[in-house]
């Protein structure tokens, strides 16, 4: 099944008169996502060389890349054909980004759903934490909220449905799971994912113009368990602007 998906040619879908979506598949799948990253890398290169006239920006998702353009600067049909041609040639790329080690507190007040999740999965809370901290997650895409990462790689034994009744307020920086995904809420928000921990690290900073979102598609991360004292110390340092985010990088990106 995978082989046939890989060989399926990319499709060009119309998203109005100012965007095209280049679709590599319909599923959440590391191979398909590799093609997404490969295509974005090619667009990066062409854009740096000023060879993408009229293109404003592009947005990678699990399985597609949406290219926004200025219809007064670029002919929509010609650009669409060009993009489709590029998508057919671009290769696959995996884990091009950094590997992060991000502190997470799994203590009860940070992890309101930990006990329930453990019970549903037939294991102890400690075993859930071991699985969460023993997994290398990969960042598929950012969406839903600024800087909200969709993380693939959740062990199958932790697969859970969303809450039947979503919370009105999920605290900012909560680490959550749903389905086969893990995520982190950069902002306080309503949400139906199950909350297993909280990071003291700020996931989005609009004043950091160079890298407002901590994570980028193609990055990998591991959760590093910390106790409440360390959590609070890091949280204070972040609030005071004294925390060096670069210290969280375990491995530099290849891209």
């Amino acid at each position: 099944m995978l082989a046939s998906q890989l060989q399926s040619p990319p499709r060009l879908l119309s998203l109005g008169d100012a965007a095209w979506t280049v679709e590599f598949g319909a599923e959440i799948d590391p191979q398909i996502h590799g093609r997404v990253l490969g295509f974005c890398s090619l667009l990066d290169t062409l854009s740096d060389d000023d060879r993408l006239v009229g293109v404003v920006e592009w947005v990678p998702t699990f399985r597609s890349v949406t290219v926004h353009f200025d219809p007064l600067q670029a002919d929509a049909m010609a650009l669409g054909e060009h993009l489709l041609g590029l998508a057919g040639q671009s290769g696959s790329l995996s884990a091009a980004g950094c590997r992060w080690s991000i502190p997470v507190c799994f203590e009860a007040d940070c992890a309101p759903d930990l006990v329930d999740v453990a019970a549903s999965c037939g294991m102890s809370p400690e075993a859930v934490i071991d699985l969460m901290t023993g997994t290398v997650f990969s960042v598929y895409m950012l969406g839903f909220l600024p800087g909200f990462p969709y993380l693939g790689g959740l062990p199958a034994s932790l697969e859970m449905s969303r809450l039947a009744s979503p919370r009105k307020v999920v605290p900012a920086r909560s680490i959550a799971i749903a389905g086969r995904m893990c995520a982190a809420y950069p902002w306080e928000s309503p949400g139906g994912w199950r909350l297993l921990g909280r990071t003291p690290v700020r996931l989005f900073d609009p004043n950091n113009r160079r890298r407002p979102a901590l994570l980028a598609p193609g990055d990998e991360l591991v959760w590093r368990p910390v106790g409440k004292d360390e959590y609070l110390a890091i949280e204070r340092a972040c609030a005071a602007g004294e925390f060096d985010l670069a210290s969280l990088v375990q491995q530099e990106g290849v891209a």
């Binding site: 998203l15 100012a18 597609s64």
Partner: protein, 363 residues
Amino acid sequence: MSACVEVVESGIAVTLQDLGRTGYRNIGVPVSGALDPIMMAAANALLGNDTAATVLEVCLSGPALKAVSGTLRVALTGELTGQILSANGRLLKVGAWETATLFPGDLIRIGSVSRGVAYVGLSGGIQLAGQLGSCSTYLRAAIGGYQGRALRVGDRLQCHPLSGDPWLEFRGSGVPAAQSGPIRVIPGPQDEYFTAAALADFFGTPYRVSRDADRMGMRLEGRALAHNEKGAEIVSDGVTPGSIQVPPNGQPIVLMADCQTSGGYPKVATVIRADLPRLAHLRPGDEVCFAAVDHAVAQLALRQQLAALQAWREAIESFRPPGVIDEAALYGGNLVSGAIRGDEAALHESVSMQGFEKGARHV
């Protein structure tokens, strides 16, 4: 040198907007920006501002602003009027599509929008550092605008002091580039997720605007659009302002300026750029019809809209407000054409509107 107004009454949900925030959609930051960038451009044109200068967007009731330093000018565009209470106690009405000058101590009380959105421009544009390359307010994540939120009493907005004759005002001739008829859309990207009957209903029957409408999106009510065997959910892909997504209940949602960057419902069609501003002026209960067009029609419509805006700019007239000695004859009629700058490319480069997904799949 700068001039400054203080917010004396906040109005309801008045936000600072410009042409939006591009370049950060890949990390989930919506475009935001004025819901009607043509009207925003008109406000700036009346003031001789740069087309992209930051303005106030009024959706319900407008603010009251007091000039605390400097002499400055305001412009109202859209269905919005105001009243000036001058420092020496005089009352002066300000009409829609007009400018008015505030001397230190003058207060302008801006009314309610009778339809859709309207704009208040200040001379030189509202001066603010902005975040991530834009002053547009995105309330949900408190990005941009005035501290990331709607205006409050006591906020102070900086602008440029008026240069030129403070007793010579300017006015435009109503809505630039007005359009009627169906809202034009380009089908897709997931029109293949709907039955033939659903597509016939979408293009053949009217939809009513519900009360559930804001800067993120607008829920419509009408014939339910049935998804075919492919289902009512997709693995999230990119969305844009104007995307018409259809959740499992079959009632379409048109995404607006503050919409998320991706979404998990099939999208039957996308409103073309030239017709996006029209959505901002619909009210609950209004009926809309959709018509499919192709890229060539969409591009022509956009060019015609810009040409109409330029014609509107060129037809701006000067006038002496009541109570001011009429010296207009002395100075001649149209004094402004040289003072008005129009940068169409800049206008449409980042003219974008985004919406949201209420009940998004994963929350």
